[in-house]
């Protein structure tokens, strides 16, 4: 009973417990995941369009991007992007005469490096969705005299959304879990908070299990929301 009590006090909010720190870490994890998700989607959209553009250089570049992201561990890419970005930023800053002691904002660096990884996965999902929009749609649009840009933004993009939805939901679940990796480049999100708490209190199992449980809850809620959105979109699609 003593042990249970000490566990509860360790997880409580306030000075004694780590509850509030863990909660803040969870919020930061969610924020990092959301930013990386959006960066990834933008990169993925560019990559998918490049892959389908028929321009040789664009196709080769986009294929190299997705192949590298798919076959090299995410943590390695995150390290590489993080160091390259900080070095580039630092040299840019020292050349332009600002202080050379400049540190890239941790949140920006983490979201950016995670987003680049995510972009590789998003490219495939979005490419599949663009292909799945019937080709008659864009043919009809070009017969009506719409420009290529108009066709993409007005015809294809709105129609591919429901088709991409299952893939997009999966991508969110992936990026939510991958956000744990930015703890390794020193960003204090949920996992790093758990690590600090575990190291300080020496209750490793308790804190790592709590971190796991929080992730489980976050992915569970996300999965439920995704199902809801999918069901709604599907219905709108059928009746609309």
């Amino acid at each position: 009973m003593d042990l249970t009590f000490s566990w509860l006090s360790l997880l409580s909010f306030g000075d004694q417990g780590w509850g509030d720190e863990l909660l803040r870490g969870a919020c930061l994890s969610l924020a990092i995941a959301a930013c990386a998700y959006i960066i990834g989607l933008l990169l993925g959209l560019v990559g998918a369009v490049a892959k389908l553009s028929g321009n040789k250089v664009a196709v080769v570049l986009a294929s190299a991007y997705t192949t590298i992201i798919r076959s090299i561990p995410d943590i390695l890419i995150i390290f590489l992007v993080y160091y390259t970005a900080t070095d580039a930023f630092r040299s840019l800053m020292s050349h332009s005469g600002f202080s050379s002691e400049f540190q890239l904002n941790g949140f920006v660096a983490a979201a950016f490096s995670l987003g680049i990884v995510q972009g590789g996965y998003s490219t495939e999902v979005l490419r599949g969705a663009i292909i799945a929009v019937a080709s008659g749609q864009s043919e009809a649009a070009s017969a009506l005299g719409l420009t290529r840009r108009q066709i993409f933004f007005l015809i294809i993009l709105p129609q591919m959304f429901p088709l991409a939805l299952p893939g997009l939901g999966n991508l969110w679940l992936v990026v939510l879990k991958e956000s744990s990796l930015v703890s390794l480049i020193g960003f204090t999100e949920l996992v790093l908070v758990g690590k600090m708490a575990a190291g300080a209190s020496r209750h490793y199992l308790l804190f790592y299990a709590s971190v796991g449980a929080i992730f489980l809850v976050m992915s569970g809620i996300s999965a439920a929301l995704i199902n809801l959105i999918e069901a709604k979109t599907y219905r709108a699609w059928r009746h609309g």
Binding site: R70, P73, F215
Partner: protein
């Protein structure tokens, strides 16, 4: 090649050995466990279905990094505090980070691949097993000779992708002190303060490994589907 190059190559090759052994061990165990997990997920008996669902949910709903931390730091600490394990002759085995990485990565792969198997078995047309039943075959025979071979062909592309993810997952074993490719790169990084060379060397090694695994799986796919084209 200069001293640094020799040193880097030496460390990377040492790490590569551990990465390959960890990957092969986890791939064999994980893929073998996956089929029973997939069958249990579809079982009519709740005594099989519920534990399998919880197993898959826990391993698929949490980050691999956290799973490794729980196993190595959490469970490892608990095991160390049990005297009968702490002073048993097997203790050196339980102290190795490699064992924890092996168990965690294998179970993780089993959970993901189990879901893939479930989907593939559901993807085999119902008429196939009905035809088997109308021929009077026992249900185990229907499963083994009719459903599973067809499910394997459906599952193989996804299983290949999952095994690539396993290869990428082995890089996280470095974070619980296993000395594999990523660990080797980190060691060189810490000792020489050179960042890009070790990371790029490790990235190249992972890339080549991924190419080998991918071509292995596409070879299997071709062999299995050639008869049906």
């Amino acid at each position: 090649m200069d001293d640094f190059g020799v040193y880097l190559l030496h460390q990377i090759l040492a790490g590569l050995k551990t990465t390959i052994s960890l990957f092969v061990a986890c791939a064999v165990t994980g893929n073998l466990l996956a089929l029973p997990v997939g069958m249990a997920l579809m079982s009519r008996s709740r005594w099989f279905r519920y534990p399998a669902s919880v197993f898959a949910l826990v391993f698929r709903g949490t980050p691999l990094l956290v799973q490794l931390y729980i196993a190595y730091f959490g469970v490892g600490q608990i095991l160390a505090s049990v005297p009968s394990i702490r002073y048993s002759p097997l203790w050196p085995l339980f102290r190795e980070a490699y064992i924890y990485a092996y168990v965690t990565l294998s179970l993780n792969t089993a959970a993901y691949c189990g879901e893939i198997w479930r989907g593939a078995i559901l993807g085999v047309p119902k008429g196939q097993s009905e035809a088997g039943r109308s021929l009077g075959l026992p249900s185990a025979r229907i499963m083994l000779s009719i459903v599973l071979p067809q499910a394997l062909r459906i599952a193989l592309p996804s299983l290949g992708g999952q095994n690539i993810l396993l290869l990428k997952g082995t890089a996280l074993a470095a974070m619980i002190t296993v000395f594999e490719l990523m660990g080797a790169a980190n060691l060189v990084r810490a000792q020489t303060f050179r960042v890009y060379e070790p990371l790029m060397a490790a990235a190249l090694a992972y890339f080549l490994l991924a190419v080998v695994i991918t071509s292995g799986f596409s070879f299997m796919e071709k062999r299995l589907t050639s008869r049906y084209r």
